[in-house]
Amino acid sequence: MTNHWVDIKNADLVLIMGGNAAEAHPCGFKWVIEAKKDRKAKLVTVDPRFTRSAAVSDFYAPVRAGSDIAFLGGVVNYLLEKDKIHHDYVKNYTNAGFLINPDYKFEDGLFSGYNPEKRNYAKATWGYQMTEADKKTGESWVKVDPTLQDPNCAFQLLKKHYSRYTPDMVSKVTGTPKEAFLKVCEMIAETAAADKTMTILYALGWTQHSVGSQNIRTMAIIQTLLGNMGMAGGGINALRGHANVQGITDMCLFGANLPGYIASPTEADVDRKTYVEKRTPKALRPGQMNFAQNFPKWFTSLQKAWYGNAATDKNDFAYEWLPKIDGAYDTLAIFEKMHQGKINGFVCQGFNPLASVSNKKKVGDALAKLKYLVVIDPLATDTSEFWKNHGEFNEVDASKIATEVFRLPADCFAEDTGSFTNSGRVIQWHWKAADGPGESKGDIEIIATLFQKLKAMYAKDGGKLPDPIMNLTWAHRIPTKPSSAELLMEISGKALGDVFDPKDKTKVIAKAGEQLAGFAQLRDDGSTSCGNWIYGGCWSQAGNLTARRDNADPSGLGQTLLWGFAWPANRRIIYNRASCDLAGKPWDPKRTVIRWTGTAWAGNDIPDMRPDAAPDENVMPFIMTPEGVARLFAPGMAEGPFPEHYEPFETPLDKNPFHPGNPKALNNPAARVYKGDMEVFGKAKDFPYVCTTYRLVEHFHFWTKHAKINAVLQPEQFVEIGEELAREKGIANGDRVKVRSNRGFIKAVAVVTKRIPTLMIDGKKTHTVGIPIHWGFKGLTKPGFITNTLTPYVGDANSQTPEFKAFLVNIEKA
């Protein structure tokens, strides 16, 4: 979330699309209800189903699963056609006027630079036009047309790109009735006024598509055109999944990242210099903060946190010890490798991939190829028994599976002390209430003990590259049981030597051994350590700021700056400089987030700006980009700088209605598809119905099926279909049905409902089948099939999040 949960109450319009906040985040959703009650805000829900969120909405519009870019692209077109944009904001705070390489093209559904064999783009033509490098300084800047009239400026290209997304076209592709679509556009357009804001609440309904990242990008374009970023009651708000999914994302347990979203070194980064230079951007416009220029400080401080005295400028701060990646290591890539027999050992820490990952059969087959599997979990997960025959729910032969499986009992939240980071980036400390059952142990103790055993083995017997193992910093009072406090202090950052003020080199701002006040104090000379720069300062000399419990809210905006600690720098609304005009005056003084006082930025949040950057210095609000502004045109994306509608990999249509003549533009041209998976994509003639999977409010993933009380609330697996499809198929409410995709089948009870509308897509009636995910063969609920038996093994081209939300099935009475 760029904003935070309580801030939703400051919105004038709440759009819920690509998510179902009432279902998945009821306690956060309360702030939507508060906005309605106290601000007379309106709520609009756009979804393939009439959801629990829709039930309390002022307006609901149906949309076909997998057609969100068509819908949102239509909104962009509407705003530009009707000139309902926040002009000053667009002109100053976005790259609207930036001139793009004249060789950039978009033709017949593909952008310039496409390589069909590799299924990817060479992005050379997607760049900006730059000025000649200054002979003295070498500086070169992006060329800008402040009038936004140049045909090659981002604004004109945007207009041209979305001019095809007419209301008729939108309705044809999405199935949203034209009047309903226009009504949503009208409501959204009202928030183009400087003092009106819309917030967008989305979740996995946007991410779990082969075009997931671009769904969100399209919405980001809308929010910047409307001037809603940085505003109280605005922003782009991803309602995330697990209680600490934000924190674990921030800790970057990804092969491709180090903590704090630092990109992992690859094989091309032959030494530290190459690696660091490549990742330290140069400003693209004069005077911009270009905050990522601090990259060397973050990276060096991380290496010092991990290798302490063994990381020095003499050995490139132990750069060599870091593994260099050679490709993708996301979940789909990992199971693909495992399926090919290239992975021997595997650990599932609080993760149930047999149930959570697409194509259950492929995942089960992959696990059966492991030599050993370790499951660390508080509960008896389905994954831990992938080898066991559970009848038709898990038809395997244990005697033929040679994987050695260890199951280790972990403590749960109630038995643990430490910090969680919520979706609004607020880090909060929690305290242990009781011991876990039996011999269960905390996750930290399990990992630490295992590591200490490995270290002892390497010390005794030697082995491949023991140095990073032997030299890993481990300043814990009990080596097999590091405390959460010790670890959070390491994450937050320490002064290893005295740290000096850059403006006055004689002034010590942090003495050796002290906790640092924040990431601004990090250095690239080895004098500081920090396990995760974005968490810098969460445990300062003042103590554990994540444990603060003062919920005072003097501004009434719900900022509660003394409750816990929000990253970065305790800032609650990111990009908040954009809540003011160029002169530093709030667009809406009634919802002042920050303002320029004449000498400094101040107000009701930590300014997302250098505190003394006077407005006439023209330092723009989007400090993490080298441009200083938000990107309408974004060259970083895998499948194009402007989002384009592509059909899901399993689509009821045989062509992309936007590009009927080009089969290459049917699905996301840059999405990665493995051999064997393309072949098992189903076709509409065999699987005529659009299927979408989702969760229910009564359950949490595959955990609460183990909780009696939740098993009582939703005891048995079901699938939802509309009344018209039920009539066609002779299915009555409560009948048992069998749902098949090209990868397998499930059986469940049919819930026949008015809440799933039949849509007209490209002149054809299209039905949707909805399937909740929560069942499996272990639990207190009635045993059920794993829904992901049905889902396709393909992900978004940027994030590799699987396409759980739009695929094809058939359905019949069981």
Binding site: K40, K708, E716, A750, V752
Partner: protein, 295 residues
């Protein structure tokens, strides 16, 4: 502390006059159906707080689960898909005891002290005194009490009398994520409802209103309904509830006759709701009831 429920207004089948000196505040729960998302947090909070767990049932093609109130589910959500003015509405109502000002269950109950009405308005069942006859079910205009198969005693929502007694809100009201359940004094709840009515009128619900049925003297659980003119849209909410004529009839006949046989035969047939063979109504109890009726 005004919310304590020690002060008794009425006891079933009891002649002892209720204490009437202390002034306590009438409490109420307001269920704003227009902000209810049917998440069932109230069902969970109720089971968890009250240490009851219903059975794991099955899916019958609807979201309602458990499908009806039971001796262990003292509140359930009822879901109705209705089309109004060409627009789909998913009306979701939390069902449970309404804590009537004039409680039919209490009037019908023959067991002394099995049903209590506190001065704060809470109507509570005391299972240690319950004889499992099931008369409370017929007496209830909302079909709420249920007899347990395990101990043959009647159970229903207590409005968390134990929490309210110490100044806390009922578990369901505290948990409700969207604030669709509010709790406070009856006066506060009526004021809150009035504000909700204004908001919902602005959003086009012309028939919005408060449900506080006067046929039972008003209730201590009230609803804000978008369609207050048609409570039956909300999966059969009683449009005009009143105490069953059977209760008055019974009291009328019982007074002059007052025999065990009458109780065992005639009444047994009248009170057809009884689910399990009731414990026999003792002579003493019948006499007690008669005394009360004679008042």
């Amino acid at each position: 502390m005004a919310l304590q429920s020690l002060d008794i207004a009425r006891r079933s089948a009891t002649t002892t006059p209720a204490p009437g000196v202390r002034q306590t505040t009438e409490v109420a729960k307001l269920i704003d159906v227009s902000t209810c998302i049917g998440c069932k947090a109230c069902q969970v909070a109720c089971m968890e707080w009250n240490d009851v767990r219903d059975d794991v049932g099955s899916c019958t093609g609807i979201y309602d689960n458990p499908v009806d109130l039971t001796a262990k589910s003292w509140t359930v959500m009822r879901y109705a898909e209705v089309e109004e003015k060409g627009r789909l509405e998913w009306l979701i109502r939390k069902d449970g005891c309404m804590h009537c000002a004039d409680p039919g269950c209490l009037k019908a109950c023959p067991a002394p002290g099995a049903i209590i009405q506190y001065a704060n308005g809470i109507v509570d069942f005391h299972q240690e005194n319950c004889i499992g006859c099931g008369y409370c079910i017929t007496g209830c205009p909302f079909n709420v009490p249920r007899i347990s198969k395990e101990d043959s005693k009647a159970y229903k929502c207590t409005l968390c009398s134990d929490r309210v007694a110490v100044g806390q809100a009922p578990a369901c009201a505290k948990a409700c994520p969207t604030g669709a359940i509010q709790f406070g004094s009856k006066e506060q709840m009526k004021d809150y409802a009035a504000k909700r009515v204004v908001d919902l009128k602005m959003r086009g619900y012309d028939k919005v209103g408060l449900y506080d049925p006067q046929g039972v003297g008003g209730t201590h659980v009230m609803y804000v309904l978008h369609h207050a003119d048609r409570p039956e849209l909300y999966k059969g909410l009683a449009a005009d509830p009143g105490i069953s004529p059977l209760v008055s009839l019974w009291k009328g006949i019982a007074k002059p006759v007052a025999t065990v046989a009458m109780a065992a035969v005639a009444l047994g047939s009248l009170f057809h709701y009884v689910m399990k063979g009731p414990n026999e109504v003792s002579k003493e109890l019948e006499d007690e009831m008669e005394k009360e009726d004679a008042k």
